[in-house]
């Protein structure tokens, strides 16, 4: 016997969480884009998507974030920090890959300096993940040692019932347990069978990839040039990635006041590594693509013991020229056959 969240009680569930002080965010399709947004009713949710186009990363590490407000006086500058207020949020209907993405990034944001902006949001968020029963040609979680029902980064795991009437509920953390409190009366006991999870084929051999990347000779391999020849150098793969976390600091303002902001940046952009002198250590797209792959499957692991990829496949799914991590890692796998 396990606990079941009946689908027809979803609205009660939202209401219960809201009255417990939570904002509820769920996949929504609005203005021709699927993303996580605050919802008040279950009918606004788009739970049947394989994956939202935007990741939940956006809600922890926004594309642009004010850090400091400043005003320029005659002899000095007044500054005022802009740290987000505490706000309790439930992310409902997160996919395992996106949830894992948060867990992958946690050590980065807490490593030498604890990023308030990230952790204030992380600490007040409860991730309710729904295991995947569908997948598409781009999903690759199984290739990066995750799966359509992996629990990494999740506080509550929901497994769809075979009959479609609801989800089997499993709390994975204290935070998850606490979240079930307000809805305890909604949950019921049951032993309905869960639907089988999606089958996502293994698309590359990540161990071989890691070994090849770790080989110093690979850095200067001609491979990078060939594999990245059609890359146009946009940042969409990085910006839609649940784990990419690079940012830039920009001041924006007028003569009198302004705001220092933290903005997403991308290793795909030539400007990313441009020195003031005009010298650019990564002055070709192939060196930039190499950096992206190396960072995800070599350097990041070296520092934090985990690859910076949760297998969502968004990089390929939306690439304007049909590139992506999968193709590159497949090619590396084939190199080392």
């Amino acid at each position: 016997m396990t606990r079941i969240l009946p689908k027809n009680r979803l609205d009660d569930c939202i209401a219960a969480w809201r009255s417990a002080g939570f904002s509820v965010l769920a996949p929504v399709r609005r203005s021709d884009l699927s993303r996580f947004e605050e919802v008040e009713r279950s009918e606004d949710m788009a739970l049947d998507l394989v994956l939202t186009e935007r990741t939940i990363k956006d809600h922890f590490f926004p594309q642009t974030e004010p850090l400091i407000k400043y005003s320029i006086k005659k002899h000095d500058i007044d500054t005022q920090e802009m740290v987000p207020p505490e706000r309790k949020r439930v992310f409902f209907g997160v996919r395992p890959c996106d949830a894992s993405g948060l867990a992958i990034d946690d050590p980065l944001f807490g490593w030498d300096y604890r990023d308030e902006y990230w952790f204030k949001r992380r600490d007040n968020a409860v991730i309710v993940t729904i295991a995947c029963t569908t997948s598409d040609d781009f999903c690759m979680c199984s290739s990066v040692n995750l799966s359509p029902d992996s629990t990494k980064g999740s506080d509550v795991m929901l497994r769809p019932l075979q009959n479609g009437s609801g989800w089997q509920v499993e709390a994975l953390s204290d935070r998850g347990n606490a979240l079930l409190g307000p809805i305890s009366s909604i949950l019921k006991e049951g032993s309905d069978a869960t639907a089988s999870t999606a089958s996502v084929p293994v698309r590359f051999d990540v161990d071989k990839v890691m070994a090849w990347l770790a080989d110093p000779a690979s850095f200067e391999s001609h491979f990078w040039k060939e594999i990245s020849v059609r890359c146009i150098g946009c940042g969409s793969c990085t910006f839609l990635c649940p784990t990419c976390h690079c940012f830039d600091i920009q001041d924006e303002g007028d003569t009198y006041t302004g705001i220092r902001r933290k903005n997403w940046d991308s290793c795909s952009f030539p400007m990313f590594t441009m020195h003031t002198s005009g010298h650019n250590p990564r002055n070709t797209q192939s060196t930039r693509w190499r950096q992206r792959i190396m960072h995800k499957f070599n350097y990041y692991r070296g520092k934090f013991g985990v690859n910076s990829c949760s297998g969502c496949g968004r990089c390929t799914r939306q690439c304007p020229v049909d590139m992506g991590i999968t193709e590159t890692l497949q090619a590396i796998t084939n190199l080392t056959k």
Partner: protein, 149 residues
């Protein structure tokens, strides 16, 4: 009753015609609304569309762009180039929902102090009626406020 709304108007003008026309309005002691701030440029050819966007960001409720009549340009052709640019830019702004009433273009010669006076007064009155350009200014106020997540 709150104070009547006083619009902020930024004018980008060429120094040879419209700026001189505005000077003439002054030397003739004509009177017009104090809402306009003039940015002097050598020629309408120098007026880049970015100026208009920045003026809006800085809270302008309307922007005026003005120069020499066709054929009178001190630089022979600058205003003809400007006219093409405006035609296209105006269509673009209009299509993105920036009302045509708020972006005005005119030819005012160095002799047309009266036209300048009348234009500023009419424009100010029009924009008073139209109200502040809140839609655009909100874009700025939003970024100045604390992230709501």
């Amino acid at each position: 009753m709150s104070e009547p709304f006083e619009p902020k108007i930024v004018a980008f003008v060429c120094t040879y015609c419209t700026y001189a026309g505005a000077d003439l309005a002054g030397t003739s002691r004509m009177k017009y609304a104090s809402n306009v701030r003039i940015v002097r440029l050598p020629c309408t050819g120098r007026i880049s569309p970015m100026f208009i966007l920045k003026a809006l960001q800085k809270g302008a409720d309307a922007v005026l762009v003005s120069g020499c009549h066709p054929g009178d340009c001190h630089f022979a052709q600058g205003n003809y180039h400007a006219r093409r640019r405006w035609t296209v830019f105006r269509a673009l702004l209009s299509f993105t929902g920036i009302p045509e009433q708020r972006i005005r273009f005119s030819w005012i010669s160095a002799a047309e102090g009266a036209k300048f006076t009348e234009l500023i007064n009419n424009l100010t009155e029009d924009i008073r009626k139209l109200g502040p350009f809140e839609q655009y200014h909100e874009l700025q106020t939003v970024i100045e406020t604390q992230a709501t997540y």
